[in-house]
């Protein structure tokens, strides 16, 4: 038989239950709301249909391609030829994504059992296999690099630590991937996170990797992206039915998850595009990438479903010009709290950033002037001389640092719930918290962990004992602050 003769029947294998009710087989707590009879989900349809044998053949070919590339260039000698700044993109991606992908395996497996149509369940099954692959590949490839740089070990370690970035990533991943029901998972993960962000992020990262000559990373993200674009199609198929039955809830999920996804995306991709990629290899700024790949494409998708832009759209546009710059400058001066290294943008980089961000970059110039001045005044190579010592503050929703808004107006805002004060990095985070306070109120951010004695108050003790870093692995300046364009003051010694 030809595929088209049997696949439509094989995709749709739902049947009527005799001994149990539909609601018992698919309880709303597990299958999600709005709870509709199967009749309403019957039209669920993914645009690109595949069979298991096609899937296995396709994946085997992709894995063979990756293996060949790993044989050729997946070795330490190749990585030694790459820009030391670029390697931090790999460390950041390597830590934050692979085990999040494993959590996505679990989210997909829940949909394999509790999604409301058999074609959806089958697509989620392929999605689960995809995500398991996306866990294994980077774990394997980054493991190859531990022997040249111990920071790569954080690919395995990151989610098992109480590092502040890991606390934030877990807060997102636990809700997005581990605990959401199939409807929220499909909208949050497939529709927003994958269709809106990561599917396109992989296009951008592959392009950067090609530019810097990192063939292994380029091949890996291209291979992963081809899976993402297939299983991301679950999202629009669910959204189509959801908007017919509960458009308000669809809009709520969209607004919530677009903001939550954006914050992590901005850090991982924004740092790579505007700071870690050597200037000569940059093809576009992070903001331009957002405009070209995310905004146009995503707004078009919203139109198709009759959905509105998220209510915070103006703040979001302002954030595309600021958020990753705010976090990068902050994290640079607290680099020992993370597992990757940083660079100071030099005069040429700053000129480029000013051209790309004419409206916002002037506010960051004095900050980098000050950091450069601190380096000039410090002893050569004394990395901790240009480092913060105060405890920084965190958003009680996203758990990331209070670094939203602009240098002239930090957008942190407060709220009181059941007599307890809470602080957030931004109005969207505050409103997400206030929409479901019981879901979030007991999660302690780092400040509250310090104040209750769960984490040490001394920054060095916090880094070593709580964040799990030591001198070998904590983040440093790639060049130890010794830049030819920033010669030391005489009192600071020779460079």
């Amino acid at each position: 038989m030809k595929k088209n003769d049997w696949l439509p029947l094989a995709r749709k294998l739902d049947w009527k239950f005799k001994y149990v009710t539909e609601a018992e087989v698919f309880p709303p707590q597990m299958s999600g709301t709005p709870w509709l009879k199967h009749h309403d989900w019957k039209q669920w349809e993914e645009p690109y249909k595949t069979t298991y044998s096609e899937y296995v053949r396709g994946q085997a070919a992709k894995d063979a391609g990756l293996d060949a590339m790993r044989e050729a260039v997946g070795n330490s000698e190749h990585y030694k030829t790459l820009s030391p700044a670029w390697l931090n993109s790999l460390k950041l991606y390597g830590a934050t994504f692979p085990l999040a992908e494993f959590a996505a395996t679990i989210g997909n497996l829940r949909a394999c059992r509790f999604a409301r149509d058999s074609a959806w369940r089958m697509s989620a099954c392929f999605g689960a296999l995809d995500e398991f692959r996306h866990t294994q590949i980077p774990l394997l490839l980054m493991q190859d690099l531990v022997k040249i740089d111990g920071q790569f070990d954080w690919t395995q370690r990151f989610y098992h630590t109480n590092n502040w970035v890991a606390i934030a990533a877990r807060h997102l991943v636990d809700e997005l991937l581990l605990t959401s029901n199939p409807i929220e998972f499909a909208i949050a993960t497939n529709f927003v996170f994958e269709t809106g962000f990561t599917n396109l992020q992989f296009v951008g990262l592959a392009s950067l990797a090609q530019g810097v000559g990192d063939k292994m990373f380029e091949k890996m993200v291209k291979s992963i992206q081809s899976d993402e674009s297939r299983h991301a199609q679950i999202g629009p198929a669910v959204m189509k039915i959801l908007v017919q039955h509960d458009k308000e809830y669809a809009q709520f999920l969209l607004d919530k998850w677009f903001w939550r996804s954006w914050l992590l995306f901005a850090v991982v991709t924004g740092f790579s595009m505007d700071y870690f990629t050597p200037l000569e290899h940059r093809k576009q700024s992070f903001k331009e990438f957002m405009e070209e790949w995310v905004l146009k494409q995503f707004l078009g998708t919203l139109d198709r479903f009759g959905l509105k832009k998220p209510w915070y759209w103006d703040q979001f546009l302002q954030a595309t010009e600021n958020y990753h710059h705010m976090v990068y400058a902050s994290a640079y001066t607290y680099r020992a709290t993370v597992w990757f290294d940083f660079v100071v943008p030099g005069p040429e980089e700053r000129k480029w950033l000013k051209e790309k961000y004419p409206g916002s970059w002037p506010a960051y110039e004095p900050i980098w002037d000050r950091i450069s001045e601190c380096w000039r005044e410090s002893d050569p190579g004394n990395d901790l001389a240009v480092h913060g010592t105060a405890i920084v503050t965190f958003c009680e929703l996203c758990q990331l640092v209070l670094s939203n808004g602009t240098p002239n107006q930090n957008s942190a805002c407060e709220s009181v719930y059941q007599g307890k004060k809470h602080i957030f990095c931004s109005e969207p985070c505050r409103r997400i918290f206030e929409a479901e306070p019981e879901r979030y109120c007991d999660h302690k951010d780092v400040v509250n962990r310090v104040l209750t004695g769960e984490a040490p108050a001394n920054v060095v003790a916090l880094i070593r004992r709580y964040f799990g870093l030591d001198y070998d692995t904590w983040g440093k300046d790639v060049y130890q602050g010794q830049y030819a364009w920033n010669p030391a003051d005489k009192k600071g010694g020779d460079r």
Binding site: A390, I391, P407, Q409, K421
Partner: protein, 80 residues
């Protein structure tokens, strides 16, 4: 000590400022300048805001009733 959320205009991050009850607005300002020194070089006049109101330079933390996890902002310019 009273932990306060503190935001300095020109900086990229909020910091946790540990204040003594008898410390004045002026002293809080100096403390935050020192905590943010790697990123911000203070330049010109600044004033301290609490709940949208300008703190008098000599007003104390206790006098104003600041309590744990309240927020202060140190803004650039002359107090109006």
């Amino acid at each position: 000590m009273i932990p306060l959320y503190a935001f300095l205009e020109g900086d990229t991050i909020g910091l946790l400022l540990l204040a003594y009850p008898q410390e004045t607005a002026d002293q809080l300002q100096k403390k935050l300048f020192s905590m943010a020194r790697t990123r911000v070089q203070p330049n010109g006049e600044y004033f301290v805001l609490f709940h949208g109101k300008v703190m008098d330079r000599n007003q104390t933390v206790a006098g104003l009733g600041l309590s744990a996890l309240d927020r202060i902002d140190i803004r650039k310019g002359a107090a109006k």
